[in-house]
Symmetry: C2
Subunit: 321 residues, 2 copies
């Protein structure tokens, strides 16, 4: 069988043709170039049309990974980084051009853990959590062999995890964990610390506040900067607590750290493990591996293909588990 | 169909014969009276033998709810409050006397949510979390219609949830959430506060520290005692954060508070809801009801019967979902 996988991000779209054993037969990345709403839908439709044409109708199914929530009931998508995609009818728009090949859509959370379970760090797992730490934070959760979805397709919104009392107004926009330990959160925390301790020298003061990113914090950390080290130390604590909570709640075989921050934060994995061990249910954490994602930016493509394959095997039910 | 349900607690055992529509046909409670290990096993076996005899072989299945972990692979049980039950072969011991009726064993966590889903506050739910707050804290989790078990039957150990930095040595024994917000935790926190603020008057000072329980804290709260009010205010914050985390992670239709503390803490449900709303993923919490358990101490019996019924319907597979 042959699958067309499409991984939509906030700034670009990757498309790949894969065999059902996971070999990538063709691959292409296209920038969104500021496209919005219907424009992004048209770009995806164009990719599907082109690939079905090029692969002489060999595509058995199309799997699409979207950066947001795929609503199973309606076939629509909410994607906060694609302007106009509050309830975008992606399924209807793509089925029009798929020439009868079934189209399946799922969230990046679900696709990432499915990709890792198929070809990455979660192979052989029936219980695994993919903590995606990038600009924001979310989780793909495989529980007893099924992707966790919840009553309204929102399950896995772990960026909202409460990890430190008392409630702070900063948490209103994106939650306690994400505010403190996402890429965006690290940059914000660095800015706060620079303002709070105005006399402490820091290489970060040479960076314009608007230019200060998680990347500059990691560079400053490497250079031994005290502010950067405090920011990273706090993040390690939060990442460890979050991993511990996933272990105590889900009792998984593995917790995977992925997303843009892991990446550079991968070097702290041992410290994150040590922090998690302090907090988690002790029998469960002894049996859980805390590891890095293996597929990196390819997790979405593999996951989209795997999701489509699983859906086909289940008779074509949308977003089947 | 007729089921024999047995709910084992730390100090007593309840047994009931139920019809498959949930009518209780007979019921009995027996004190453990200090029995341990094999003695508790013998008491359960005796109940099974007696009920099968009395009900003239009408018992189609036996369901047993245990206060600990039911290990599916081995048919053994770990129950921290029953001395000698580290890996007790309960399945083998009970099958001997069940005269061919199949025996199914599951944890109190799993049974409580199954009972509430059948006859209590979670009826009609496919996604619901039962937060059992008693001497300790645990959760029964229904996710997409199935009981969450995890890789080693430990899932739902939410008493270990990390909710406040930094790690405190007090958390080593039973976790951050349980240390701060279980019945035992409330009593401990009250003792700490009395010691930390030695000059503040408190009605709790009239109680011998060993006698100080969650119950005395609730009574002192009612009498307007400042220390008791601070203890309860902290607990409400922790209960709210925990409920919020269940909502953000599982996106359930309902979160239920039950166990010995709810009960008396039920009067704070509105405040717990308000606290949870601050922290949780905002779309998910708008659609989640936070309610009290309806079955109270009967949840285990109903759940044990429901679990046995479900297992029968699935062809007798042990601990089926």
């Amino acid at each position: 069988m042959t699958l067309l996988a499409i991984d939509l991000g906030g700034t670009k779209l990757a498309a790949a043709v894969l065999s059902d054993d996971g070999a990538i037969l063709a691959e292409e990345t296209v920038l969104l170039n500021g496209r919005r709403g219907n424009g992004v839908g048209a770009l995806i439709a164009e990719q599907i049309r082109k690939n079905i044409e090029q692969h002489a109708d060999e595509i058995d199914a199309v799997g699409i990974c979207v950066p947001g929530i795929s609503r199973r009931e309606t076939g629509t998508v909410w994607a906060p980084n694609i302007p106009g995609w509050d309830d975008y009818p992606l399924l209807a728009e793509t089925e029009k051009v798929a020439e009868g090949s079934p189209v399946f859509i799922d969230s990046d959370r679900a696709c990432h853990i499915l990709g890792e379970e198929w070809k990455g760090a979660a192979q052989g797992c029936r219980n695994a959590v993919y903590l995606a730490v990038g600009t924001g934070i979310g989780a793909g959760i495989l529980a007893d062999g099924s992707i966790l979805r919840g009553a309204h397709d929102i399950a896995g919104a772990v960026g909202w995890m409460a990890l430190e009392r008392p409630f702070d107004a900063r948490y209103v926009e994106c939650g306690c964990f994400e505010t403190n330990a996402s890429g965006e959160g690290l940059a914000k925390l660095a800015r706060r610390m620079l303002a709070q301790v105005p006399h402490r020298p820091s290489v970060l003061r040479a960076v314009h506040p608007n230019e200060l990113s998680a990347g500059t914090v990691f560079e400053a950390y490497e250079a031994g900067d005290e502010t950067a080290q405090e920011v990273i130390a706090a993040a390690i604590e939060f990442w460890g607590m979050a991993a511990a909570n996933m272990v105590s709640i889900f009792d998984p075989e593995k917790v995977l750290f992925g997303g843009g921050m892991f990446g550079p934060a991968g070097r702290f994995l041992e410290q994150i493990r040590d922090e998690a061990k302090k907090w988690a249910q002790p029998i469960a954490i002894e049996r859980t591996e805390i590891v890095l994602s293996e597929l990196g930016p390819k997790a979405g493509l593999y996951g989209a293909a795997r999701m489509a394959l699983k859906a086909l095997a289940n008779g074509g039910v949308k977003n089947v588990q």
